[in-house]
């Protein structure tokens, strides 16, 4: 393979990895607070459809409309995640069941599809699209130019988000409380940290980020809406969180790896290399299983395992 192809693969990998990365960063926050939300796919689709709707029906300068569209997508997905938060935190329902229900409710044959029909979004091209930015005019710099300095704004925003989450989780008091709530809510509660408030906040932020990730599909990758446009990216985002050991840097790296692999798959088949495409689409899950095996082993559990209270509803008095 020549150098140009490698560079192009990496650049495309970053591009396609970004929506998964953003959604996974959101899920990471929710899971760090102890709430597993399997509704990522549904929330991404809600973000995608609402963002697209806004971009089609709101007129104004391109940049402003796109900002409003992304924020609207985030708000829509956060609203969906509020259902999950209420079910699992207030009513202490089973998180897996509630999350799956959320994806079915909001997913490709659910609310997102209904909203698309209602606003007659299908088959209409959008009027605004987020193009790559030539950062500091460096896009033609060899190697780094196409990879780093010629991406759409959301790619750069995702880096900011990842760093902000890293800083928040590790360097702030609120981040410390978040970790405590996800690991041992009883202990956090005993020290005066509100488990309910932390869990609600992080499920909602997680939902909002899933919506931002979803909007990437209708504002950046393609400027149209079709049902189920995220085609399983939400599930890969869930896998990414595990794969990254619940750490933001790992989420970014993993997302780009998957992006590169799928770009490679497309590239190989374009060159007539006979390899079933399922090999590439299965890879994230195969890797996730491998990582789960490591994480679940005695060796890995203490360091890399899931937040200890993940999936466990919290009730004071243990009842």
């Amino acid at each position: 393979m020549n150098r140009g192809l490698v560079i192009q693969l990496i650049a495309t990998g970053i591009f396609y990895g970004t929506p998964m990365a953003i959604a996974a960063l959101g899920e990471l926050l929710a899971e760090r607070s102890g709430v597993l939300n399997l509704g990522v796919e549904g929330m991404m689709l809600m973000g995608a459809v609402v963002a697209f709707w806004v971009s089609r029906d709101v007129s104004g300068p391109n940049g402003l409309v796109l900002i409003i569209a992304v924020l609207a997508g985030a708000a829509a997905a956060a609203a969906v995640s509020l259902i999950h938060a209420f079910m699992t935190i207030t009513l202490r329902a089973n998180q897996v069941v509630s999350g799956l229900a959320l994806t079915i409710f909001a997913g490709a044959t659910g609310l997102s599809s209904y909203v698309g029909d209602l606003a007659n979004l299908g088959g209409n091209p959008g009027r605004h699209i987020m193009n790559a930015i030539n950062v500091f005019g460096l896009k033609d710099v060899p190697i780094l130019g196409p990879i780093i300095f010629n991406q759409p704004a959301l790619v750069y925003i995702s880096w900011v988000i990842a760093f902000a989450i890293y800083w928040y989780v590790n360097k702030t008091r609120q981040g410390l409380h978040l970790r405590a709530v996800g690991e041992n809510p009883e202990a956090a509660d005993a020290m005066g940290v509100s488990v309910t408030r932390y869990r609600y906040a992080h499920v909602l932020i997680g939902g909002a980020l899933a919506g931002v990730g979803g909007s990437f599909y209708t504002l950046v990758i393609s400027s149209e809406w079709t049902d189920g446009i995220t085609s399983g990216a939400g599930w890969i985002a869930l896998a990414l969180v595990i794969l990254a050991f619940w750490r933001p840097a790992g989420v970014i790296a993993g997302a780009y790896l998957f992006g590169v692999v799928s770009a490679l798959g497309a590239n190989l088949s374009a060159r007539g290399v006979q390899l079933p495409p399922e090999v590439f689409s299965a890879l994230p899950y195969v890797l996730t299983i491998a990582v789960l095996a490591i994480v679940s082993s005695g060796w890995g559990r203490g360091r890399f395992g899931a937040p200890a209270a993940l999936g466990v509803p919290y009730a004071r008095d243990g009842g």
Binding site: T172, G175, L176, H177, A188, G192, A308
Partner: protein
Amino acid sequence: MPNEPDRRVALAAYAVTKRFPGVVANDNVDFEVLGGEVHALLGENGSGKTTLCKMLTGMYQPTAGRIEVDGKSVVMHSPADAHHNGIFMVHQHFSLVERLTVAENVMLGWSLDGSRIRFKRRKAEQEVARLAEQYEMPVDAGKMIGDLSIGERQRVEILKALCRGARVLILDEPTTVLTPQEAERLFASVRGLAKAGNSVIFISHKLHEVLAVSDRVSVLRRGVMTGTVELGDHAAAVDRKELARMMVGREIELGRRQRAARAQEAATAGLEIKELVVHNDLGTLAVDRINLNVAAGEVLGVAGVAGNGQREFAEAIAGVRPRSGGEVFVGGTPVRSGRPLAALAAGMAFVPEDRMGIGLASGIDVAENLVLKSFRTGAFSRGPLIRRGRVVDNANTLLSGYELRGGPSSLVGQLSGGNAQKVLLAREMASQPKVLVIAAPTRGLDVGVTETVRKLIAEAADSGTAVVMISEDLDEVLDLADRVAVMSGGRITGIVDAEGADVEEIGLLMMGQEQAA
């Protein structure tokens, strides 16, 4: 080892009474803790120690009486209120986040310097290290809790309180989770805390610890303060017997079992235990080479303070918990380790203290619970199918003598504690077992059910079952048992005849003093 510093009363309860429905947990209790003293609170489980401490830490409000901090009357509605008054409790179950560091745990929920956003790791670690050094409680502030020993974790809990300005520390049975060496270190730390002017309330039931660490000892029994003793310079001179008597002193005898009926053909093999060794869930030694024989028709009471290996002992005999060594024979038949079915087949019946947890399945009904041990037999099943009609008939027959509220189709989870115990006993006795192991037989039951359960135990023995009855209630043990084996630290420290037993002797055995051979 008295302390010179201020002898003012730091924390006190005066004429405090706490009533729960049907129970007086604390009855007119007076309790004073001085500044700079280690004050031990001694008493059996259920004597009201915990209730008293919960009132001192704002978790309960007294029904009557008052609590004073520094001579001022206070009303505390929550642990947070107690914290504001400088009163902190360290529970047996630590409240620590394993995957956070020591410093992070200490800093949860508050800030060293009022900074609202930034968590200053370096600064937090320095502060924790400084306190750790000041109070000689060495612990590495940057280490993860999960990497620490139990003793170190306990130090972190204490540091958490000190960091927040604790002046009165309540340590709830702090040594139960510690090795003897760790306990020694804890005692040193506790002395250091007192020397620095803090007060420590040391809850314990182990006399030697209390003697080693305390300035004064108060004894609670059945919710009543039976006395406060000042330990002078020569703690050894204190009459241990006096303390033991204050702790377990006997009251009027009632309901003693008629033993006359017991035939003296005790040679019939009931239960034989040889060199039994068992480890607990944490992998530490819980039962240390116990040898016991219980004849058919005999009731052997196992007395002792909870947590001295009784639970593991019972579970190992019943086959529920694997043994680490030794042998168990039921009616002369050896029973393999950790095989409940094998024990069952040999004639073992087991009524655990955790009735709803491992005794009964709360999500299914009474009739089904009653056949949990026998449904495999042809009487209740045909191939993989359960014969519901027979199961219900069986329930009706078994329960006819038990005055059970609700019918065979009631969910066990909805039964009262007493009714659940009746169902459990009915099931276990249905198989006419050779051996019955029953733990905490009447804990939490009302007087009526208690009488029923006692009667059933007596009947079981009279019908030739060898009964091992494990109970913290010494009176109950003395009323029902033929012999009393006292358990302490995983060992049987002595066996006495229940008839005319010397309660002071039993108290000393319970505290770990071995019987003279």
